[in-house]
């Protein structure tokens, strides 16, 4: 990359000015972030609360949907300047290839189109007008009810997938909550860019949003975090279990205003291939490979391994080989980004150990991998134990005589399970889904769509909008 980028990774409501900045360097990309003091943050929060009261809380949901739709439509246009900035800088920041970034941004934004959001609001709240005023609870009962969002939401973002911040801004605005977003130092750009698009479209939102950064959980950030959490009615924290726990503890200290907390911690996903799906080996292996390749397997929806049913027209090991071929093909279309030295080292260790097993015929192990480097690795392994992947397009394939027999294998991972991608006939899905749901899985979807969750999917088992609101009822005399 020859271009040098100096970009701002923050958005602050005017007229707040910051004089001290910190810079995060990602190769040729340099992201400027404000160094917040307790006073500045208090000023920001005063703005956010006032604007929520005077402006945002008085807007109709339809009006907000219109603004969001306009912003999303801009971002879906390849020539949009904000999008182009993101596309140019994100590969350097995230380590994802440019093709992966382009696809990721498009998929993300497609999920927030107006009809999708309208449907989510109606489904989760019963009726989106609940956000605008009291509605009849039961017909003729003289009891009314409405939903109210928090005055202010503070969100601590994880950095694994670019764009999660955009989704947070959208959800906050939909419930008419001002939004303070703390970005991750792993991806401190897209959220601020999307915030600026929103403000360009509706300048009156300028005081309803703030995108900032501070060193999360560090002693020097203690007073900042106590102010942010103490003045929020809702705190959302995503990241490592440790980071989420740290937020829990700080939130617990931030009395007297004790906000609600939603934590999103570590999660893992897996794939299940039914024997029937092996009839079209090419299609199913292509879909599985795409789920592995997307975001270089960094998402909580990325499958760590695939269980493949025996007794079909192909052997599970043929599926492993075919998935390897598809990963090789994807390497051209959607290349993996560069990885750091420690990651390469780990991937080689895992692969070489599997090669030693294969050479020694221990259990049954077959390794399929990129010819050079660690670009992709498929390890076929007869041992059915659920094993985590070192990620970056490394995946295990394990035979299983019946997909239902996967369920007991998941027991140890129950608190961490997120999604199961399934390739099986529709007639088999319901019982499987019941069992997977009971085992702790929150999302069950077709293989090939694991990384394309519909907006409003129950991440960590929670609802996108409904978990943010509180309910107010009115009982008529």
């Amino acid at each position: 990359m020859t271009d040098r980028f100096n970009l701002d990774g923050f958005y602050l409501p005017p007229p707040i000015k910051i004089s001290t900045f910190t810079k995060l360097k990602f190769g040729a990309v340099q992201i400027r972030l404000p160094v917040l003091t307790a006073t500045t943050l208090s000023d920001v929060i005063n703005q956010l609360l006032a604007a929520q009261e005077q402006h945002l809380s008085r807007q109709s949901t339809e009006a907000i949907l219109k603004i969001i739709d306009a912003a999303v439509s801009r971002w879906l246009k390849p020539e949009d300047p904000m999008r182009r900035t993101a596309e140019a800088a994100l590969p350097g920041i995230t380590g994802l290839s440019p093709a992966m970034v382009r696809l990721g941004v498009t998929r993300l934004m497609e999920g927030f189109q107006r009809d999708v959001l309208t449907r989510i609001l109606d489904q989760e709240l019963g009726d989106l007008r609940m956000l605008d005023g009291f509605e009849d609870q039961d017909e003729g009962s003289r009891r009314l009810i409405r939903a109210m969002g928090p005055r202010m939401t503070t969100t601590i973002l994880a950095g694994n997938i670019p764009g999660l911040g955009a989704s947070e801004l959208i959800a906050s605005l939909l419930v008419k909550s001002s939004c303070l977003v703390k970005v991750s130092s792993d991806e401190p750009l897209l959220t601020a860019l999307f915030a600026r698009t929103l403000v360009e479209i509706e300048p009156r939102l300028a005081h309803c949003l703030a995108v900032v950064w501070w060193p999360g959980g560090k002693p020097e950030s203690k007073s900042i975090e106590e102010i942010a959490f103490g003045r929020s009615e809702l705190v959302i924290a995503a990241g490592s279990d440790e980071a989420v726990m740290a937020v829990h503890l700080t939130v617990g200290r931030s009395r007297p205003a004790l906000p609600r907390l939603i934590g999103y911690g570590h999660r893992v996903s897996l794939g299940l291939i039914g024997r029937e799906a092996l009839d079209d080996l090419k299609a199913v292996s292509r879909n599985a490979a795409l789920d592995v390749a997307m975001y270089d397997q960094q998402g909580c929806l990325s499958p760590h391994l695939f269980y493949v049913e025996t007794g079909g027209s192909r052997f599970p090991r043929q599926f492993a080989k075919a998935m390897g071929q598809e990963l090789a093909r994807l390497e051209k279309e959607l290349p993996r980004g560069p990885v750091d030295t420690a990651t390469s080292a780990r991937l080689h260790q895992i692969r070489s150990v599997a090669e030693i097993k294969q050479a020694n015929g221990e259990e049954e192990v077959i390794v399929f991998g990129s010819e050079t480097g660690t670009l992709w690795t498929v390890i076929y392994e007869a041992d059915p134990t659920f094993i985590l992947s070192p990620l970056y397009r490394t995946v295990r394939v394990k035979p299983i005589d019946d997909l239902m027999h996967v369920i007991p294998r998941l027991e140890a991972w129950r608190p961490y399970l997120q999604a199961a991608g399934i390739a099986a006939p529709e007639s088999r899905l319901r019982p499987l889904a019941e069992a997977l749901g009971r085992a702790g899985v929150n999302r069950i979807c077709p293989v090939g769509r694991m990384q394309q969750p519909p907006a409003g999917w129950p991440q960590d088992g929670r609802r996108f909008i409904a978990d943010r609101v509180r309910w107010v009822n009115l009982e008529m005399p």
């Binding site: 792993d186 570590h266 420690a342 080689h348 015929g361």
Partner: protein, 397 residues
């Protein structure tokens, strides 16, 4: 033997590029094997004690042939890679085994006298690497010679204060085993361990250090970096600083693996200097691993004593003993990198003849002059955000 071991090593040109063009593979049978085993062990012992400039290549290939014959797991791996003794003409081509493999396989070439276990810090206690050592005498020869050359280039012995657990406390630890060997050989009569089952005995340590100052007799402090760090923290909280007698020295090892301690190497050494009054020339870091019988030490003390490069401390580097070769390889392609570039360390250690000589590590480093510098030790690949690393989950369980 002790007498022989006190011969100091000469570190000449590190790269032995002699290549043996043809290599014959003898026929094997079990009865001949035992004598072969002893013979190769003895040859290696001889070489460690009296390394020749050109002998490494021949011996490395011999060890490879031996390991290929005696280590069935390694043999099958080499066959799968088409790297058999018939086709390997240089030590550089000998297939390296990933250190991770010690967690999965028994890689001994014979019945081990002892099996050392890795500490298991990076992947939780339940998965530990096992290094079987069939002949401890080789381990001993390598460890003692290398230690004395780098920690005692000027003296025959010195009072040792060991900030590690004794073999009684850490029976499976190769570090404890090594500490015990050097204690017995060079530690003097008053040498002692300062870690017990309650942790670091800081009161006793400070008492002994104060005595050493009063008696003005130099001491050697050696142990794990984490224990040193505990002393540094204690000293900071109690505003304590010592001036150990001239000639006192420090050997630390292990770094801060697995701990969230944000302290650079130079800052750490500066604080050693501040708290113990030991100059940087007398602070020697050891880099070793359970899977490998030989260790690496910083050159600084040996160079200082031999009056080489005294002011050029920035050239602090790990010295490669004559019976070891270290390559820096590209982390993706695993091809050898040109000098100065950063990559993964791969070691070829003749002293490992009882298990596997060629080890592919996850440690990051680069060559400096005739040695190398460690830039990062294996800690497992980092995963970002809401996905996770194996380690973290295993810990959570």
């Amino acid at each position: 033997m002790p007498c022989q071991l006190k011969t100091k090593l000469k570190f000449g040109n590190a790269a032995d590029r002699t290549c043996i063009a043809s290599h014959c593979v003898p026929a094997y049978n079990a009865r001949r094997m035992d004598t072969r085993e002893n013979r190769i062990d003895d040859e290696i012992l001889d070489y460690i004690r009296r390394p020749g400039e050109a002998g490494f290549e021949a011996l490395a290939l011999k060890v490879f042939t031996y390991q290929f014959a005696r280590n069935p797991i390694y043999r099958k791996y080499c066959e799968a890679k088409n790297k058999t003794p018939d086709f390997v003409a240089s030590w550089r081509e000998i297939p390296a085994v990933p250190t991770e493999a010690f967690k999965e396989f028994d890689l001994a070439c014979g019945r081990p006298e002892k099996v050392f276990l890795t500490s298991g810090t990076s992947r939780g206690p339940e998965i530990r690497g096992r290094h079987p050592v069939p002949r401890l005498e080789i381990y001993r020869a390598s460890a003692l010679l290398n230690f004395s050359s780098h920690l005692l280039p000027d003296l025959a012995e010195m009072k040792m204060m060991i900030l590690a657990g004794s073999p009684d406390l850490w029976p499976r630890s190769s570090l404890s085993h090594m500490m015990e060997m050097v204690r017995q050989e060079y530690g003097g009569e008053e040498a002692a361990y300062y870690i017990n089952d309650a942790g670091l005995d800081i009161d006793r340590l400070l008492k002994t250090l104060t005595e050493a100052c009063d008696r003005n007799r130099p001491v050697m402090l050696l142990g794990v970096t984490l224990a040193f760090h505990e002393v540094l923290e204690y000293a900071r909280n109690h505003r304590l600083s010592l001036r150990l007698p001239n000639g006192s020295r420090i050997m630390d090892t292990g770094g801060f693996k697995g701990r969230r301690i944000d302290l650079s190497k130079s800052e750490l050494y500066r604080r050693y200097e501040e708290v113990f009054g030991v100059p940087q020339t007398h602070i020697v870091n050891e880099y070793g691993m359970t899977e490998m019988c030989s260790q690496f030490y910083d050159n600084v003390l040996a160079d200082c004593v031999n009056d080489i490069e005294r002011p050029r401390l920035r050239l602090r580097r790990k010295r490669i003993p004559p019976w070891v070769r270290t390559l820096i390889v590209d982390p993706e392609t695993l091809e050898e990198l040109p000098p100065g570039q950063t990559g993964l360390l791969r070691h070829y250690d003749l002293a490992n003849c009882g298990s596997v000589m060629a080890l592919q590590t996850e440690d990051v480093g680069r060559t400096i002059a005739d040695g190398f510098e460690i830039l990062g030790r294996a800690s497992g690949a980092e995963a970002r955000g809401c996905s996770l690393i194996v380690e973290e989950l295993l810990r959570a369980r």
